[in-house]
């Protein structure tokens, strides 16, 4: 998949700044920032990114709630969503993946590695999608041949 534009949501302005510089310099991608889930939803009304990076712990609307709101309000939005969090116990990561996240980036992150982590997660997400598509196609064929 080709990434050109990323929307990044984090309530901490310092993390937004460091992540923005890192993604712009080492992507290099166009990055737009939001400080809350609500701000993101307003941004999505006007424009759609190729990738969404969401902080998990945010006041008012946390990352998973924001993700759910995105899915409800923009059902056509099928781009990958990455969570950024310090909560990376295996059961927590599983929860994010069950929600439909493409992957998780551990906080605090090394800015130098951020762009590579994003690329890796997107590549994994893409191959997962193509596997699922292939599985769906073969099951459709099986059902068709059964008829």
């Amino acid at each position: 998949m080709k990434i050109e534009k990323i929307f990044l949501v984090d309530d901490d302005p310092n993390i937004r700044r460091i992540a923005e510089i890192s993604l712009k310099k080492l992507g290099p991608w166009q990055v737009e920032l939001a400080s809350s889930g609500r701000e993101l939803l307003a941004m999505l009304e006007k424009d759609k990114p190729d990738l969404l990076i969401l902080d998990v712990m945010m006041p008012e609307m946390d990352g998973p709630t924001t993700f759910q709101s995105v899915k409800n309000q923009f059902p056509g939005f099928k781009q990958p969503v990455i969570f950024m969090t310090a909560k990376v116990m295996s059961h927590e990561v599983d929860e994010y993946l069950v929600l439909g996240a493409a992957g998780v980036i551990c906080k605090p992150f090394n800015p130098k590695d951020l762009a590579d982590d994003v690329r890796r997660i997107c590549a994994e997400w893409e191959s997962r999608l193509s596997c699922e598509d292939a599985a769906a196609e073969s099951s459709e064929l099986l059902v068709g041949s059964g008829d």
Partner: protein, 207 residues
């Protein structure tokens, strides 16, 4: 005859005047150069070294070694420190038992624009380092740091092993005692030095 002598005298005076001007200019140049050399090689205030890793800090102590570099985002000397840090942390073999932080000063009342620029741009390209923006200089105060470029190394018990700068002079990239000492500590040896002079802008003056 009279005219000739007057011309000779005037010529002599103008030569003497020119010599005085040249001498004055040379003295000025020498003074300027001297003060530049003095400024670039005069260390700034070093940290009031904390013997131990502070109990309260947003930075977390590693089970191995913890390296912390404090930087002023607008100090031109910081670029040299970042360059030395990049060289030090480039080898993953060296950093396997090390956690490194770069703490960028953001004094009270300063905007995000203050921290943006060449220093932060170069920091995001350094491997194996976590970058933190130090709101209100809280962390630099906790660690007793007063100068950009100050580098601290702590062992697993939180004991400070090294405190100093990692450049040989202001803005100078190249071999220096600070980096050599840190490399010795990181590779498991005993550093020959536990202190080096710090060359950088004051973190206090940016407030």
């Amino acid at each position: 005859m009279f005219n000739h002598r007057v011309i000779e005298q005037a010529d002599c005076l103008s030569k003497f005047g020119l010599m005085k001007v040249v001498l004055f200019w040379a003295v000025l140049v020498l003074c300027g150069y001297g003060s530049m050399v003095f400024y670039s090689t005069a260390p700034a205030k070093s940290a009031v070294t904390v013997g131990q890793f502070p109990v309260v800090s947003s930075l977390s102590k590693n089970s191995g070694l913890t390296l912390i570099v404090f930087l002023h985002p607008q100090c031109p000397c910081s670029i040299a420190t970042v360059s030395e840090l990049k060289g030090l942390l480039a080898h993953s073999r060296l950093v396997s038992r090390l956690r490194a932080y770069a703490v960028v000063s953001k004094p009270t009342g300063c905007s995000q624009a203050f921290v943006s620029g060449a220093v932060l741009d170069s920091l995001v390209q350094v491997k194996n380092v976590q970058v933190l923006i130090d709101d209100d200089d809280v962390e630099s105060q906790r660690f007793g740091v007063k100068t950009s470029g100050q580098t601290l190394l702590f062992d697993s018990d939180g004991k400070c092993l090294f405190s100093g700068g990692i450049t040989a002079a202001r803005g100078e990239v190249g071999g220096n005692a600070g980096v050599d000492a840190l490399r010795q500590y990181i590779t498991g040896g005993r550093g020959l030095l536990n202190k080096t002079p710090v060359f950088g802008c004051s973190l206090e003056s940016s407030k």
